[in-house]
Symmetry: D2
């Protein structure tokens, strides 16, 4: 086990991911693969997607290994920027060994937080969980027992601005790259959202676009649906309208009351959020307008 | 095979289903089961459901076998009506051997019709398909080759009233007990719907209540959902708002364009509609307000 | 919340479950429901199952509420035993408020244990977890932090007999009614199993009967299956051959190596085991030969 | 609609698929994409897979469009063969417009045949169904009504050799490239199989490797499984042991007897086989030892 982890670590040390979005045109794949071959890189995984011809967009993710990645990362970027400007690419290169600094926001219900911490302890979540922020105190003990700082910041809509100022300051302090709303039941202001574009992942407890907004399980119960769901998406300024990363459903029946739906739903929420977060952490999600491309 | 079918037929000959809805109160199950025992019936399957205490309603379905059912059916109903009035029940007794006379309405896309006819030929659909009505002619050959009358009635919203008059007359002529809208792309008027309450089953090509109305696959594509679905429900006067009988979903991704979603969706629609229709035909569906209780 | 829990508690106080197995014959349901009605009980949920006519067996579960259940439980049993002997029933009456004393056995991999403890903390597992026994020490801290006794008993096949003696003594001491093998990687002897018939629930990390025995994920990988699964079953003396309670699967592809299958599998194992255990705790599982009837 | 089909046709006219298997080594993707770029091809979809380092194999599928494909196909192959020999590739180039000549073998149960014919009529199966061969006559009418030749060849194990001779002659006559065993209940000899390596697709009515061989539903019923499945695989000389292309499952319960499992199973078989066949027809399946790589 220990040896496997060392190998894992060693392998990640020289593993990088190149993400590209640009207008579709001939020669992109040839140029990128020729570049990587010229640098002595070994492609581990490669995915690409072209939209319909009207939109005419091209997306690519390449995971590759290269000797002495850390020493050479800057030079690599420098060299690649020539190709990038030739094809007018939006692009980024991220190192697999550099785990993203992550903040988890949670309210009273801890199940999504617990799932993420469980995956984290198990080595299955490729994040550096830097802090947890909550408007309730009930998760404090658990979080601190794992050595993760816990910040209790009471919140309600009347004090939204000052609450967000404190939160933004903490995010800044910890150099946070990803914010996970693990059933955080407060609405974020456009100011907050604009500071972390496509870097806030929420879990909504319905199968969007059904039951946008409050009390989705009660409304699902009242509508008499036969399947309930959960949706993980990037947060934008339109409530529950941001790009969807992942969704899941479970079967329900007339036996279940609204409380039962909540209980069944907790299990869906946990797994849907964990999958979406993992894909983001592995740089598998690209955003295109209000949609995602998930290379999984 | 032939022997099995005869046995099947013989068994169904003496099989009946009793469906009950009433206010919840002690003693219902005892009274019903005592009654059936007294009549010499053998209970094959029994299901019941009590709503939450506020609504305080009770639903029951009992499938039983009894000797000489056909000769005794009237007397059975007579006897049971005393218990029924004691508990103030809505109830009905249906004979399994009496297959429901069914009309299928279809427009141009034949996949749901084909699925139902396939189940029908295979002996897996417990209906007597009496006729097919369509505003397109493309399914005529297939339907008639199975010896089922096909009525081509062109339809559009300007001639809705006269179209429905013709349709209602046919339904009357054939003593139709169940109408299946197998992707029939015309809206029915309140007059039509009111003549067949909870006896019109529709398949909507989305996971309701998401994407009510027209072009759900295009809208699902534009929203970037990761699962698409279909919903079978009883038709009421509120478009796509009637009691849901069954729903299904399949996973989709950024690889799929709107045409792909339609193709994947056809497969979901076929199986969801077939399940819903089968449950209705076996008297497994009870309606409670805008919800269903499905004893399956 | 607190009020809801009190109500929940109050409701469970007067809730009981009657489980019956006997030869199929007319009048059973009438007799049982008449009895309960006569006692003033209110039936909350009732399920029954008749096997095929050759086997000719009948199974029933009735959940009911009755005033002053605790004071009257003995008298109820006394009265019912007359009906039971008339129909030659195997039966038991269990009180919903009396949570089953449960032992969890675990080896090194903690994911199934964690899932059960998570459900337990969340109030979603209707057990009284009395102790955890492990042949590894890694879960000790977590278990004890919840106030649950943890017993570290090193085990291997050479000392099987003395290990089991210690375990059986502990089970006896704590009056254990249910043993959960939450990825306990030691084989139990017939002597151990015979002392807890149909009261030991295992999770096997394959879709039984495929991949019985050791290293199922490696073998699934080598066979190139496209779905992997997990199975929860009662333990008998035939390895992985006991009555199946629940199974689950997830899709895999050529992208996944054996390690990936293990990781995906952990998630299946967790949820399959949790469902099986919950059904057992709620007296929803009846055993018939080498099969289960699950009234869920 | 008509215009869309013409466009579809036009697009397929210039669409080709390049499939490659070889030892993994740096520079493959660069060489292939550089080659296609140099030829003026536009990559529509590209997938690749590297096995674990021990096996050290590389697989690739590229779908591309190129002007005047038909005139240039031979020259393209000629040019590419230089790259292929440099990297020691197994490869093939197939034209999307050239639909594979396909034979369907069926016995008495027609559901899988019907599903394939349904997809075929609907334009959703990219095959040229050249003939149907059966050892029963019951599907003759249906098949011939679609203008497809139907050959009734009675078969049993005593006349296996002469039966296969007739079948092989027909396959030869029709230049068959794919044989689909759509519930064909006769075992093929090694001689037959060796003549069509990885070009015979079977549907087995269980979740392999569980229930290899005869009567899987009866055995699933007797084992008391909670999910049943179906498996589509390439036929090899080891019964039900060939490379798996696709699998599917559905939930069952104690309510279902063996006949019910067969009925539920038919629906799984239909969709699993149809998916597997479609992937093969689109050149999405590569075989590696006893496993498949499915680029879908």
């Amino acid at each position: 086990m220990e040896i496997r982890q060392m190998n894992e670590q060693a392998r990640n040390t020289n593993k990088a991911r190149l993400l590209i979005s640009c207008g579709d045109q001939p020669g992109i794949v040839a140029a990128v693969s020729q570049f990587l071959y010229g640098q002595g890189a070994n492609i581990v995984e490669s995915n690409q997607h072209s939209t319909d011809p009207e939109a005419g967009l091209f997306f690519m993710r390449v995971e590759f290994e290269i000797d002495n990645l850390h020493e050479r990362a800057d030079a690599l970027k420098q060299s690649f920027s020539k190709i990038a400007s030739e094809f007018n690419m939006d692009w980024r290169l991220s190192l697999a060994s550099k785990r993203k600094k992550t903040a988890i926001f949670v309210s009273k219900e801890p199940h999504c937080l617990l799932e993420l911490l469980w995956e984290y302890q198990n080595g299955d979540l490729d994040a550096d969980i830097a802090l947890v922020i909550s408007n309730h105190e009930n998760s404090k003990g658990l979080v601190e027992s794992l050595g993760i700082p816990f910040y209790y910041i009471p919140a309600n809509k009347d004090i939204r601005q000052e609450v967000e100022e404190k939160q933004l300051q903490l995010l800044d302090e910890y150099n946070i790259e990803l914010i996970i709303l693990a059933r955080y039941m407060q609405i974020l202001t456009p100011n907050f959202v604009s500071k972390h574009p496509h870097r806030i992942i929420n879990i909504h407890h319905s199968f969007l676009p059904a039951f946008i907004g409050a009390k989705p399980y009660e409304r699902a119960y009242n509508r008499g649906v036969k399947l309930i769901g959960a949706t993980s998406h990037y947060v934008t300024n339109d409530l529950d309208e941001g790009p969807i990363i992942e969704q899941g459903v479970e079967r329900v029946s007339h036996h279940h009351n609204a409380e039962d739906l909540k209980k069944i739903g907790r299990s869906i929420e946990r797994s849907v959020l964990a999958r979406a977060v993992n894909w983001h952490l592995q740089d598998r999600v690209l955003v295109h307008g209000n949609k995602t491309i998930v290379f999984n």
